[in-house]
Amino acid sequence: IAAMMASSYNAKEEDGHHSSGSSHGGAGAVKSKKPDNTAFKQQRLPAWQPILTAGTVLPAFFVIGLIFIPIGIGLYVTSNNIKEFEIDYTGAEVSSPCFNCAKNFSWNSTTSCNCSVPFTLEQPFESNVFMYYGLSNFYQNHRRYVKSRDDSQLNGDRSSLKNPSKECEPYRTSDGLPIAPCGAIANSLFNDTLELYYIHSNGSSTAIPLVKKGIAWWTDKHVKFRNPGGSNNNLTAAFQGTTKPVNWRKPVYELDPSDSDNNGFINEDFIVWMRTAALPTFRKLYRIIQKKPNMTPTLPSGKYLLEVTYNYPVHSFDGRKRMILSTISWMGGKNPFLGIAYITVGSVCFFLGVVLLIIHHKYDNRNNSADIPN
C-alpha cells in the first residue's frame, strides 16, 4: 500500500543539554532563571510533517476506490440473494381479512378476535427463516415513552418492584398497587399471536414450528432482565402485591406458563419489545423457523396461511401491522443501501483520483516552474 501522505522526518537535532555546559560559569541566580534547553520546551520535538498534496493523496484515492468497489459489489449481491416476504395484516381496507377484527376492536372484550391471512411464497426459503412483526407509525422512540420504564424493577430489584420509578408515570400504579412491569413500554406490549400454516396442494394444512427462543439479546435475557426472587420458581408469589399493566390481559407471571425459563420478566417476547426501536417504522423479531435437517427448504414455495389473534389496535394512530419472513446472511437482512453506498463512494474516489491526476500534472509543473526563478 502506498504511503498516504508525503512525509519527511524532520531530523531536528535533539538539543538535549548540549549547551548547558557553557552557562556553568555564570552566577547561580542567573542560571536558575534560564529556561531549560529541552526539545519540548523549545518546541523542537522531532516530528513527522505530512502535507496533503495532490501527488500524495492520489494513490490513496485509487486504493480506496479499488477496495470499496469490490466490497460494495459483494454486499449488493449478498443483499440481493436474501429472500424476504412481507404481508400487511392491519385490516384497514374492507377487503382485508382482518378488517372486522380491526373495526370491532375493544379493550374490554374478553374473547379474542381471529383472522387468517393467506399468502403465497413464489420462491422457497432456504436455511433459517426469521419471522418478524412490523409496526409503522408507532413512536417507540418518543421521549415520554422511552424513559417510561424502570430498569431496576426489570432487573429483579425487590424495592423497585413494590415502588417503581417515578419515570413510569402514569403507568406506575393501578388501583393503589404498583404495576409490574411498570411504564408505557411494558403497558403497550405487542400481544398479537401469529401462527403460520403451510397449505398443501390437497388443501390440508400443517402448522410450521415456530421457535421462540433466541429472539432476544443473550445479555438482556440473562443479565439485564431478571425475575424477582431469583431462582425461586414460584413467580406468582414473587409478584405478589403488584398488579398487571392496565392493557394486559394476564399478569406478567403468566406470559409463558409452559416454560419457567421464558416467564415473567425474562419472557423473550417481552424483552424484545422492551428494546425500544430507533425509528417509528420498525420490525421486531418474533419467531425463528429452524432449518430442516434434510435438504428440503425451510419454507418451500407454495400457499401459506397466517393465523392472527388480533389483540393489538393500531387504527387509532394510523398504524400498520406487518408480518415479515426473511432469510439472513452474514450481513443481516435485505438492505441494498450499504452495497450501493460502497459502490458509489468507491467510484467517486476513483473518479477523483483521475481528476487529481490531471490537476497534479497540470499545476505541479506550473508551480515548479514558478519556483525556479526564486
Binding site: R143, P170, P280, M331, L338
Partner: protein
C-alpha cells in the same frame, strides 16, 4: 489684611476652590491663620491588583458570569434544574463548575502575582524626618505632608516639593528617564526660603503650609504656593512651579541627598500613577470573532428550538398523535396550560441542543492560552544572558494577537537604541581621526579645544581619598561628566580619549589638560545657549594669550550657511555620509574676535539679556549677529548605539506587512538619525515633515493638504510603476495635538487627512511626544476605520500609557525601572526578541487558536445536528439521540485532548522557515483564518458530516436488521453508531489538519480514540449500580459484533472526511498560499535526501 490676601492671589492667580492645603510635618498653622481642616488623602500605596482576599469570590463570580457565555450556561443549568428536560442537570452543571473553577484559579493566581509585585514596591524603604530625626519606614506608610529625605540614586517615593538640597545652590539633578524617557539630567530648584536648611532639625522646625491644585496627569505642569510662618509674622508666600516638584519615579542624581522634601501627592494620585491609564480588560480579535460566531450559533440554536417547537405542535395537532393509547401523559401534565407546555417544550429543545455552543471551548481556550504562554517564557532564544532574564508573560489572553499585529509603535530611547552614546569619529578639514595620533596642525588644535570648551558639561567628582585633581591626573575614572545632553558627554569623553581632557570650570576659567599634559586655562566669557530653533551653541572664551575666540558647534544646516572659509565641501560630504549611517553629526566652527568685535558682541548680549520685553527675540537677534563669518573646523559623529539586530528586526517587521511607528520624546534630528540607522527610513524614503517649524511657516491646513496631495499622486503613479517610492512621515507632538484638537470646525477632516497620509507611509516618526500623547496616537490608529491591531513596545514609564492603550503592549526590561515591563502584556529583554515573538510565537498561536475555535464549532455541529434531525423521526419529543454519558463526555474527554494538544504544539511550518520568511505573516493578517467565509465552510462541513452520520445510520437501520442472528437493535444502538462515527470522524479530521506529528500527538490522538472504545466497552459492560437506567448495557458490544456496522462506520468516516481532503488538495494545487508553498519547499529537500 485685604492687601495681603490680594498679594497672595497675585502670586498665584490659578488657585481655585478645589485646591488642597498641606501642612508640612502635619503641624497646625499658628492661630490667626485659616482654620486647620484635616483633609483625607490616600496613602502612598500603589495598587495594581484587582481583588482582595475577601472580595475575590463574589467579585470574581460576578465578573465571570458577566461573560455572556458563562451566563448562558448558568441559565441552561438552571432551566435543567427547574423543568423536566431530556438531559440531566449534571451534563451542563459539571462542565460549568469546571470552567468557573479553572478560570477563578487562573485569575486568582495572576492577581496574586500582581499583589506580590505591588508589595515589593510598597514596602521599599523610605527615610522620613520625624521630630528632627530621620526615621526609616516603608514606602506605603508615607502620608501627604511627610517630610522625606532622598539620597543619591534613590527614586522618589511620591511627588515631592523640593525644600533643600545638600548642594549649596539649592539645586539638585534628577533624571526622569523612567517617566518620560529623557535620560538627561534636569535641574530642580529648592524653595528659596528653605534652601539653606542642612540638617533634619532645621527642616523639622519649618512651619509652613502648601496650597496646590488637585492631582492632574500633566507631568510638566504644576502650580502651587507655600506659606511659611515665622514666629509671629504674617506668613511669607512663595509661588511653586514645576521646577520645585519632584515626581515619583524620577531618580535623584549627582546630589548627595536632598533634605526635607514634602510629600504632595501620594499613592495613586501621583502624576506617574495618573499617567497610567486605568487597566481595562484587553480582548483579542480572536475572542471578538469567537463571540460573533457564538451569537450566530445562539441564533441557530434558538431557531432550531423554535422550529422544532412549532413543528411539534403542528405534528401533534391530532390527539392520536399527541397522546396515542400507548403513551399517555400524566394527569398533571395534561392539566398544564398549552402555552406553558409550549414554552417548556421550547426550553427543553434549547437544553437538548445547547451543546452546539460548546462550554468546553472556553475552558480549552483558557487552558490553551495559559499553558501555551509557557512556551514564550521557556524560549531560550529570548533569554538574555546579560540581563539574566527571559521573556515574561503577564497576560496570556493575548497570545494570538501577537500574530495579528498591523501597527507597531515603538519607543526610541532604550528600545531601539541602547541609550548609550558613543563618540565615533571626527573629521578635521578633510581628515578623519578615529584614534590618537600625532597632529600638529593649527586647525586640529583648535578643533579639539573647541570641543573641549564649547559645551555645558559639568564635572562630577567622586569623593576619593586621592582628591579631585589627582584622580583626573592619573586618568582614573573617579570623575565623570554629566550634562543635559548625552551627546555632549560623549563628545567630551571622546576628546579625553584623543588626549584633550576637560578638567573643570573653576571661577569662570575652563581648564583643559592637553596632549602634552599641560593645563590650559581659558576664561569663559559668554555662553550662547543651545536652542532648538538655532540648533547650535557657542561659547566666547579668552585664551591665556589674550585672544578672544568664539567656538560654535551645531547641526550642519545651521553652521554651513555661516561659514566663510574652510574645506566646506569635504566636510559636508563626510557629514552626509555619517548621517546616512545613522550617526548624529555636529559641525564645529570658530571665529577669532578682535577686542573691538568682542566689545560689540558683549554689548549686544548684555542689552538683550536685560531687556524686559521680548527678551527671547532680542537674544536671538543678538546671537544671529554674533554667530557669523565662521571658519569651519570639522565635524564629529556620535552614535547612540542601536540595539543588537534592531535594524534586522524592523526590516522583518516591514516584510511581514507591519507598519512601524517610532514614538519618542526625543528631538527630531536625533530620532530621525536613529530611524535611518534602524532602516526604518531608507535612503530612498521620501520624508514628509509635519513639524511645528513647518506649520509656523504655512498653516497646518495647507501643509496637510499638500502632503496628502503628494502621497495620493504618488499612489496613482505607483499603480503603474514597479518600484514605488515609499514615504516616511515625521511629525512632532505640537503639530499632532493641533491635528487632534477637537474644537476646530473641520477637525475631523484633519484627522482623516492625517490618517490618510499615515496609511500611505511605510514608516512614521513622532517626536517630542508626551506620554499621554503616545497613547493618543495609538488610540487614533486603533479607532481608524480599518480597526487595525496595534502593538506598543517600550521600556520606560513614559511608554506605559501607550502599552496599556495598544491591543498588545510589550515592555522591554530596560535599565531604568520595570514600569513598562510590569504594565505590559509581555515583557522581553531586548527589542530583537520582538521578531521571534511576533513572527514565530504570534504566528503559531494564531493558527493554533484559529483552528481551535473553528474546530470546536465544527465538532459541535457534527455532534448536535444529528440530534436535531432525529427530532423529525421521534415525533419532536426531545428524545436525545445519544446516551447521557456520551452527551456529557463528548466535549470533556472524547474530543477535548487532541484539539488541546494541537493548539499547544502545532507547527504548520518550521520555526526556521517562519523566521526566514517574514512575509508568511501576511497570510494570517486581518484575522484571515476566522473570517466569515472560513467559518461558513467549517459550519457547512459540520452540517454535511452530521447529515452523513445520521442518514447513513438511518438507511442502515431502515426497517431491517443487520445482525447475522436476526436480532434487532434499538434506538440506543442507533445513537451509539452515529456517535462512534462522529468521534472517529472528528478526531481524524483533526489528524488530517495536523502538520506536526510528535510522539505526543500520536499518543493523544490514537489514545483518545482508544479511550472512547474502552470507555464504551466498560460503560456497556456492567450493570451499573446506583443508576436508574441500564439502557447502554451491551449496546456497544452488540453493535461491534455486527459486520455491517463495521463496514458502515468505515464508509461513513470516509465519506465525511472526503470533502475536506478534496478541498485541501485542490486549494493547494490550484492557488497555494505562501505558507503552503513554504511547506512544500521545506519538504522537497528532505525528500531528495531520502
Amino acid at each position: 489684611l485685604l492687601r495681603e490676601e490680594l498679594k497672595r492671589y497675585m502670586t498665584n492667580p490659578h488657585l481655585c476652590e478645589s485646591d488642597r492645603t498641606i501642612y508640612i510635618g502635619h503641624k497646625e498653622p499658628p492661630p490667626g491663620a485659616e482654620a486647620y481642616i484635616p483633609q483625607r488623602y490616600p496613602d502612598n500605596r500603589i495598587v495594581s491588583s484587582k481583588y482582595t482576599f475577601w472580595n475575590f469570590i463574589p467579585k470574581n463570580l460576578f465578573e465571570q458570569f458577566r461573560r455572556i457565555a458563562n451566563f448562558y450556561f448558568l441559565v441552561i443549568f438552571l432551566v435543567q434544574l427547574i423543568i423536566d428536560t431530556p438531559t440531566s442537570p449534571v451534563t451542563s452543571g459539571l462542565p460549568l463548575f469546571f470552567v468557573i473553577t479553572v478560570t477563578a484559579i487562573k485569575q486568582g493566581y495572576e492577581d496574586w502575582l500582581r499583589h506580590k509585585a505591588d508589595c515589593s514596591i510598597n514596602e521599599c524603604p523610605v527615610d522620613v524626618v520625624q521630630q528632627g530625626k530621620v526615621v526609616r519606614t516603608q514606602s506605603h506608610k508615607l502620608r501627604v505632608g511627610d517630610v522625606v529625605m532622598v539620597r543619591e540614586d534613590e527614586t522618589f517615593p511620591c511627588d515631592l516639593i523640593f525644600l533643600s538640597s545638600s548642594r549649596h545652590d539649592g539645586t539638585c539633578y534628577v533624571t526622569t528617564a523612567s517617566l518620560d524617557g529623557e535620560s538627561s539630567h534636569k535641574t530642580y530648584y529648592a524653595v528659596p526660603d528653605t534652601m539653606a536648611f542642612t540638617t533634619e532639625q532645621e527642616v523639622d522646625s519649618l512651619h509652613a503650609t502648601i496650597e496646590c491644585e488637585q492631582p492632574q496627569p500633566d507631568l510638566y505642569k504644576f502650580v502651587g504656593r507655600i506659606n511659611i510662618y515665622k514666629d509671629r509674622e504674617e506668613p511669607v508666600a512663595r509661588p511653586l512651579g514645576a521646577e520645585n516638584l519632584l515626581l515619583r519615579g524620577a531618580t535623584l542624581k549627582n546630589t548627595q541627598h536632598i533634605y526635607g522634601t514634602v510629600a504632595i501627592y501620594t499613592g495613586m494620585e501621583t502624576k506617574m500613577a495618573l499617567n497610567y491609564q486605568s487597566k481595562s480588560q484587553k480582548r483579542s480579535a480572536v475572542e471578538k470573532s469567537m463571540n460573533a460566531f457564538l451569537i450566530v450559533y445562539l441564533c441557530i440554536l434558538i431557531s432550531k428550538a423554535v422550529i422544532n417547537t412549532v413543528l411539534k405542535y403542528a405534528w401533534q395537532w391530532s390527539p392520536d398523535r399527541d397522546e396515542p393509547w400507548y403513551n399517555h401523559r400524566t394527569e398533571i401534565e395534561r392539566q398544564r396550560h398549552v402555552v406553558i407546555r409550549a414554552f417548556t417544550d421550547f426550553l427543553a429543545f434549547m437544553v437538548l441542543f445547547n451543546y452546539i455552543i460548546p462550554v468546553s471551548m472556553y475552558v480549552t481556550v483558557e487552558m490553551q492560552k495559559f499553558l501555551g504562554s509557557y512556551f514564550i517564557a521557556w524560549d531560550e532564544e529570548m533569554f538574555d544572558e546579560e540581563l539574566g532574564e527571559g521573556a515574561q508573560v503577564n497576560t496570556s489572553d493575548l497570545n494570538e494577537e501577537l500574530g495579528q499585529v498591523e501597527y507597531v509603535f515603538t519607543d526610541k530611547t532604550g528600545t531601539l537604541t541602547e541609550n548609550n552614546m558613543e563618540f565615533i569619529e571626527c573629521c578635521v578639514d578633510a581628515k578623519y581621526i578615529l584614534t590618537c595620533h600625532n597632529f600638529r596642525q593649527e586647525h586640529e588644535d583648535l578643533f579639539f579645544r573647541a570641543l573641549c570648551l564649547c559645551h555645558t558639561v559639568q564635572v562630577k567628582e567622586e569623593e576619593t581619598v586621592d582628591g579631585i585633581k589627582r584622580g583626573i591626573h592619573q586618568g582614573r575614572p573617579t570623575s565623570f561628566y554629566i550634562s543635559s545632553s548625552p551627546d555632549e558627554v560623549a563628545l567630551v569623553e571622546g576628546m579625553k580619549r584623543l588626549g584633550y581632557t576637560y578638567l573643570r570650570l573653576k571661577d569662570s576659567y575652563m581648564e583643559i589638560l592637553n596632549k602634552d599634559d599641560e593645563i590650559e586655562r581659558f576664561e569663559l566669557l559668554h555662553v550662547l545657549n543651545f536652542d532648538s530653533v538655532r540648533r547650535r551653541m557657542s561659547v566666547i572664551v579668552k585664551s591665556s594669550s589674550g585672544e578672544y575666540l568664539l567656538f560654535c558647534k551645531g547641526a550642519d544646516s545651521s553652521i554651513f550657511p555661516r561659514v566663510v572659509s574652510g574645506k566646506v565641501e569635504q566636510v559636508k560630504a563626510r557629514v552626509e555620509q555619517n548621517a546616512v549611517e545613522g550617526l548624529r553629526t555636529l559641525c564645529v566652527a570658530y571665529r577669532r574676535l578682535s577686542p573691538s568685535e568682542y566689545e560689540e558682541a558683549c554689548h549686544l548680549l548684555t542689552k538683550a539679556k536685560l531687556a524686559l520685553q521680548d527678551r527671547e527675540q532680542r537674544l536671538a537677534q543678538a546671537y544671529d549677529i554674533i554667530e557669523r563669518d565662521f571658519v569651519l573646523l570639522g565635524a564629529t559623529a556620535v552614535e547612540d548605539r542601536l540595539q543588537e539586530k534592531a535594524a534586522d528586526t524592523i526590516e522583518s517587521l516591514h516584510k511581514a506587512g507591519m507598519k512601524v511607528w517610532v514614538l519618542t520624546g526625543d528631538k527630531m534630528e536625533t530620532a530621525a538619525a536613529t530611524c535611518y540607522a534602524s532602516k526604518l527610513f531608507r535612503r530612498s524614503t521620501q520624508i514628509l515633515e509635519l513639524t511645528k517649524k513647518r506649520t509656523e511657516e504655512q498653516s497646518l491646513h495647507d501643509v496637510l493638504f499638500e502632503l496628502s496631495r503628494t502621497v495620493l499622486r504618488q499612489r496613482s503613479i505607483s499603480g503603474l510603476s514597479v518600484d514605488c517610492l515609499d514615504f516616511g512621515l515625521i511629525i512632532d507632538g505640537a503639530t499632532l495635538s493641533a491635528i487632534l484638537k477637537p474644537n476646530q470646525e473641520g477637525s475631523g477632516n484633519y484627522r482623516e487627512i492625517f490618517l490618510e497620509i499615515c496609511r500611505n507611509c511605510s514608516a512614521v516618526l513622532c517626536c517630542r511626544m508626551a506620554p499621554l500623547q503616545k497613547a493618543q496616537v495609538v488610540k487614533l490608529i486603533k479607532a481608524s476605520k480599518e480597526h487595525p491591531i496595534t502593538l506598543a513596545i517600550g521600556d520606560g514609564a513614559n511608554d506605559v500609557s501607550m502599552i496599556l492603550e495598544a491591543h498588545v503592549g510589550i515592555g522591554i526590561m530596560g535599565k531604568e525601572g520595570r514600569q513598562a515591563a510590569r504594565n505590559s502584556d509581555y515583557a522581553i529583554p531586548k527589542f530583537k526578541h520582538l521578531k521571534k515573538m511576533l513572527l514565530v510565537h504570534g504566528h503559531y498561536y494564531y493558527i493554533r487558536i484559529a483552528e481551535l475555535v473553528q474546530y470546536f464549532f465544527y465538532k459541535n455541529v457534527c455532534f448536535i445536528f444529528p440530534q436535531f434531525l432525529y427530532q423529525f423521526f421521534c415525533g419532536f419529543s426531545q428524545q436525545p439521540l445519544y446516551d447521557t454519558a456520551y452527551l456529557t463526555l463528548y466535549n470533556i474527554s472524547f474530543t477535548s485532548l487532541p484539539i488541546l494538544l494541537y493548539s499547544l504544539v502545532e507547527q504548520h511550518v518550521t520555526m526556521e522557515t517562519l523566521k526566514r520568511e517574514p512575509s508568511l505573516y501576511r497570510d494570517i493578517a486581518k484575522n484571515s483564518l476566522l473570517r466569515w467565509p472560513v467559518f461558513l465552510y467549517w459550519t457547512c462541513l459540520g452540517v454535511f458530516d452530521a447529515v452523513v452520520f445520521f442518514f447513513g445510520a438511518y438507511f442502515l437501520f431502515d426497517n431491517t436488521t443487520f445482525t447475522s442472528n436476526g436480532q434487532m437493535f434499538g434506538n440506543w444502538t442507533f445513537g451509539t453508531l452515529v456517535f462512534t462515527v462522529l468521534v472517529f470522524t472528528v478526531t481524524l479530521k483533526l489528524a488530517l489538519d495536523t502538520h506536526h506529528w510528535t510522539w505526543i500527538n500520536h499518543f493523544v490522538i490514537w489514545g483518545s480514540l482508544l479511550f472512547y472504545v474502552i470507555f464504551s466497552l466498560l460503560w456497556g459492560g456492567i450493570i451499573w449500580p446506583f443508576l436508574n437506567y441500564q439502557r447502554m448495557y451491551y449496546v456497544f458490544m452488540q453493535m461491534l459484533s455486527s459486520g455491517p456496522a463495521w463496514l458502515s462506520i468505515i464508509l461513513l468516516i470516509t465519506v465525511s472526511l472526503l470533502p475536506d481532503v478534496i478541498k485541501k488538495v485542490l486549494c493547494r494545487a490550484i492557488c497555494p498560499t505562501a505558507t503552503e508553498r513554504a511547506q512544500v519547499r521545506t519538504l522537497t529537500p528532505a525528500q531528495e535526501q531520502t
